[in-house]
């Protein structure tokens, strides 16, 4: 076709004007199945680039090859929502000279839109793209090889990066519309064998948990939701993945049917469970920044009331039109919660990075009611502690903590405590939960942190919330 933007990856890189020291960006919609980051960084290394800053929406186990690229000086800086696996372990031990900058999904969107995070070249994987760069996360031909659903985290990059390269494993005829990534924003299109393994996008198993503790936690969390005062016709909700969160949706669904209540929208990472409620007519719209499994990805491909939003529209703190500002209830998990209700979802109790901020900070801050669901102990690791290892979500935006030993309500929300008490739920002081944990496991010895800063945790307004130090041993 005339004006085709299709070139090889090497040509696209040359055309982009990329130079040593510049910032490249990626999205993580294929999660553990992502193939774009490793493919592109391998090529950049081959072409002799050094000192590049990698701005990913998140990174996971599959990005372990970055360890070599860091050692060889190809990558010298990283910003991301999270880190996992061997890469996280190596960075926790001090692999990277510069600290990793951790931002929430909304915080990253704001930083890109506000110019604080400047992207020189974005490399964005897409399941379908035409020769002019109109690209989406769902297949648009019978030759489609992959599906990731929403491209929400890639949309700020597509819009604000100086140069945008779309990589696709299915080049389709123009016009590939509607499309989240608009051809007008795209400079080059590169056809590759595979942008990602769609089987690996599921964050957790899409089945009901049989773990009795998860079921108990979910049951308690559902009772909090139902009696909170926010469970009314037209309410809105966001949940995470994982056994307890999915089971909460099951209990809430039953109560919605019993009372004849419908939700106006569900937000966030959309799961198969949310799609089911939507298809049953219990949820009006699905606002999807990230499809958490294949069912959700397929739903966004075919259902006009299941809509894709960018990270900025999803959860920016600066844009009052973002969806989190309209969100009533969010159910979140935690690695640790402390007696001031501060939450850590990033650094393990062994001091090693093993998670992601995700939308935790954003949804907790903007929602009317934020509920943290976590067990008191995971093995010998306490989840309710005197002080979190790393501060991710400040306690002032956390309203209720649900554990199997009782429910703690933030003293800043006495009206919620009153409502839950009236419903005969077992309320406890969060300090008593921490004391209970301590009585079972004993007082942990302090972690052997060094004095090198390996990570900086940003608040969603761009200020620094906390620092992560290297762990020894």
């Amino acid at each position: 076709m005339r004006n085709s933007k299709v070139v090889s990856l090497e040509e696209a890189i040359k055309k982009s004007g990329l130079k040593d020291g510049m910032t490249i960006s990626f999205h993580h919609h294929f999660r553990g199945g992502d193939k774009v980051v490793n493919l592109v960084v391998d090529k950049l290394a081959q072409m002799g680039f050094k000192d590049l800053k990698l701005a990913a929406s998140s990174l996971s186990d599959v990005h372990k090859p970055l360890i070599e690229h860091i050692k060889n000086g190809v990558i010298t800086g990283i910003s991301t929502s999270g880190l996992r696996g061997e890469l996280a372990d190596a960075i926790s031990h001090g692999l990277l000279k510069e600290p990793v900058v951790f931002r929430s999904h909304g915080g990253r969107g704001s930083a890109i839109a506000g110019g604080e995070l400047k992207i020189d070249v974005a490399f964005l994987g897409a399941s379908a793209c035409d020769e002019l760069g109109n690209a989406c996360g769902v297949p648009r031909s019978e030759n489609g090889k992959s599906i990731c659903g929403s491209l929400g985290y890639a949309l700020p990059d597509a819009r604000y990066a100086k140069h945008v390269v779309v990589l696709t494993d299915d080049l389709v005829a123009y016009p590939n519309l509607p499309a989240g990534i608009r051809g007008a924003d795209v400079e080059s299109v590169v056809v590759v064998d595979s942008v990602g393994d769609s089987a690996k996008i599921s964050a957790g198993a899409i089945r009901d948990s049989k773990n009795p503790r998860d079921i108990l936690l979910a049951n308690q969390a559902a009772k909090v939701v139902i009696n909170s005062g926010y469970f009314e016709d037209g309410f809105s909700i966001q949940t995470g993945t994982g056994g307890a969160s999915l089971a909460v949706v099951k209990y809430i669904r039953e109560e919605m049917i019993n009372r004849g209540i419908k939700a106006s929208f569900a937000l966030g990472g959309i799961t198969a469970h949310m799609v089911k409620l939507h298809e049953e007519g219990l949820i009006g719209k699905l606002i999807d920044v990230q499809s958490f499994d294949k069912v959700a990805a397929q739903s966004i491909a075919s259902d006009p009331s299941h809509v894709e939003v960018s990270a900025v529209e999803y959860a920016s703190g600066q844009h009052l039109g973002s969806a989190t500002h309209a969100l009533d209830i969010v159910i979140l998990s935690a690695l640790e919660v402390d007696t001031d209700f501060n939450v850590n979802v990033l650094v393990g109790s062994d001091g090693i990075i093993r998670g992601a901020i995700g939308g935790h900070q954003d949804t907790a801050a903007d929602s009317a009611l934020s509920i943290i669901v976590c067990p008191l102990l995971r093995g010998r690791i306490p989840c309710v502690v005197p002080k979190v290892t790393t501060l991710i979500t400040p306690g002032k935006s956390v309203d209720v903590v649900v554990t199997e030993y009782g429910i703690a309500v933030n003293p800043g929300r006495p009206e919620i405590a009153e409502k839950l008490k009236a419903a005969c739920l077992k309320l406890v002081d969060i300090k008593d939960l921490a004391a209970k944990a301590n009585s079972i496991i004993g007082t942990p010895d302090p972690l052997p942190f060094g004095d090198k800063v390996v990570g900086v945790v940003m608040n969603r307004d761009g200020s620094v919330l906390d620092k992560i130090y290297n762990i020894k041993g």
């Binding site: 062994d350 001091g351 102990l377 093995g379 010998r380 690791i381 004993g442 942990p444 010895d445 972690l447």
Partner: protein, 75 residues
């Protein structure tokens, strides 16, 4: 898993996923449990994935019973 073999004095070899925070406490629990059973010479190998003290006590006791042939629950 806890295994006990012959040794001089109490030697505890611990591999634990929570070593940094709880290694000291776990070693103390193993030693106290064996001392409580009257075991003074043993080489203990313990591979731990974050078990609670009550579990560690039970495992050490069971290993001691197997190693000595003396059933502390019956005798």
């Amino acid at each position: 898993m806890v295994t006990i073999g012959p040794g001089e004095g109490l030697q505890v070899e611990l591999q634990s996923s929570v070593e940094a925070q709880f290694g000291r406490q776990i070693r103390a629990v193993i030693t106290e449990t064996l001392e409580g059973l009257g075991v003074t010479d043993a080489h203990v190998q313990a591979i731990d994935k974050g078990a609670l003290d009550c579990t560690i006590r039970a495992r050490v006791t069971a290993a001691a019973v197997r190693a000595t042939g003396k059933d502390v629950w019956k005798d």
